[in-house]
Amino acid sequence: MVDLSVDIGGLIIKTPVMTASGTCGYGEELVDFMNIPDLGALVVKGTTLEPRQGNDYPRMTETASGLLNSIGLQNKGVHYFHDELYPRIEHLNDHIIVNVSGSRIEDYVSVCEILSDLTKCTAVEVNISCPNIKEGGIAFGTSCSEAAKVTKEVRKVWKKHMMVKLSPNVTHIAEIAKAVEDEGADSVSLVNTFLAMAIDAQSRKPILSTITGGLSGPAIKPIALNMVWQVYQAVKIPVIGMGGIMNAKDAIEFILAGATAIQVGTATFIDPASCIKVIRGIEEYCNEQGVKNVRELIGGLII
């Protein structure tokens, strides 16, 4: 029996596999496909203070080995989550991690305050990297001082695990990671999507209603993997890795590069049972390689 549990910074989760925010709804949509309690954590859709309709259709398109989206954080707001959604999903996992977004620091703080009393909400993932909202989001994630500021303010009100989600659209992601570590982040998760664009040559128009969007999927995996490795070497807090993880092999690569846990995003769109298949695949790999404890693999890249 392989021990798959990991400690992501004061929070022990039973497997190193989580959903990625915005790619699994609220978990309910996937109950037909897998046993959600088996996941390390359920990271739900980006949640803002006020409800948001998101951007106009079309807001997603395929690219070579990737997806480009500009959903724009469609959600019914934190109050709806607190009152309606949470009671419906609290049985789905012991760790329901809410991805918190906003365009002003006060919004992040308010959202976290409202979430504080939800028992299963053992962590928030502070999203300072959404490329698809006009103000805020990514702006916080592309400057050390802004990233530090958000982290600091949220830290004041949020006493449970605070994960900060980093943007890959930066020169030195490790410096941003250090900045949020210094302000008390318990872990960092990376990467969010890459700013990108698609054009229809025939009509000469952008494909997305928003012109640009965020790129995810296997296309970005090699870049994300390097960023995880860079951040792993720079900070002491656990790193949650993601970006194009489609199967257990990909997940192992991120763990070897330094991720304590990983998130599965776009893969869920291709196979709604991806998360559970990744968990089973990691278990198999450990068995084959004689690894008793998945923690042995973290940062285990042989160089």
Binding site: G22, T23, C24, G25, E29, L30, D32, F33, P51, Q53, G54, Y57, P58, R59, M60, E62, T63, A64, S65, G66, L67, N69, I71, Q74, G217, T268, F269, I270, D271, P272, A273
Partner: protein, 256 residues
Amino acid sequence: MQKRVEELTIIDKQVIRNDYICWEIQSDKVFDKIVPGQFINIHVKDSPGTFARRPFSIHTIDYHHNSIQFMMKVVGDGTKALSKLEIGDKMDVVYPLGNGFSISDEEESLLVGGGYGVAPLYHVAQELIAKGKKPCFLFGARTQNNFILLDRFKNIAELFITTEDGSAGHKGLVTDHPIWKERIASIKKIYSCGPESMMEAVAHIAEKNNILCEASLDQVMCCGVGVCLSCIKNTIRGNEATCLHGPVFNTNDIVW
């Protein structure tokens, strides 16, 4: 029926008119009730240009053999790659998805279709007939050659057609067909599936005449299970995922 991801086996493949394929795919497992208007979402292997799954309406179900028929128009890389599969090969399918039409108790109903949108209306008609109702098809196309498998539809219910060029049936759009004037009083429900402009025009007629109308929307989809929020349509309740809350909507709820 619960949704599932499964490798289904191709047990029949009929190429129609070069650009349509009528597939039958079979499961090892027993089917529960599948609602007309529900769809399947296929993972296309062996096509480097196709990353997301591709959705297709269920054309009809064979509950004895646990098989699904669907009609596929070959339009781009994904459907081209699928078209190379043969009987005996597998398809990786997520199904059954979406809400489907609400098969209601109105005596007379009109099933309005265009393009590959006619496919699910066959299943709708089958259910209506099983309930002892009288469905009637009204299909439109640009020209005669664009229709497929009309005989199959004719065999189970009355069928009217329109063509834009007048090459068959009434000349004009489906909304120009005389049936609207002749039968408007007796039609109590409209089921529509086809190009959005057609469904919108039909919805307006329905609204004006106070007829219950459902339309199956054709947004580009990805996950098919309501988690990517790419396939949204604006409704009176806000943006809704058409793969989860649809593809079938009461047309009064849609903000066109």
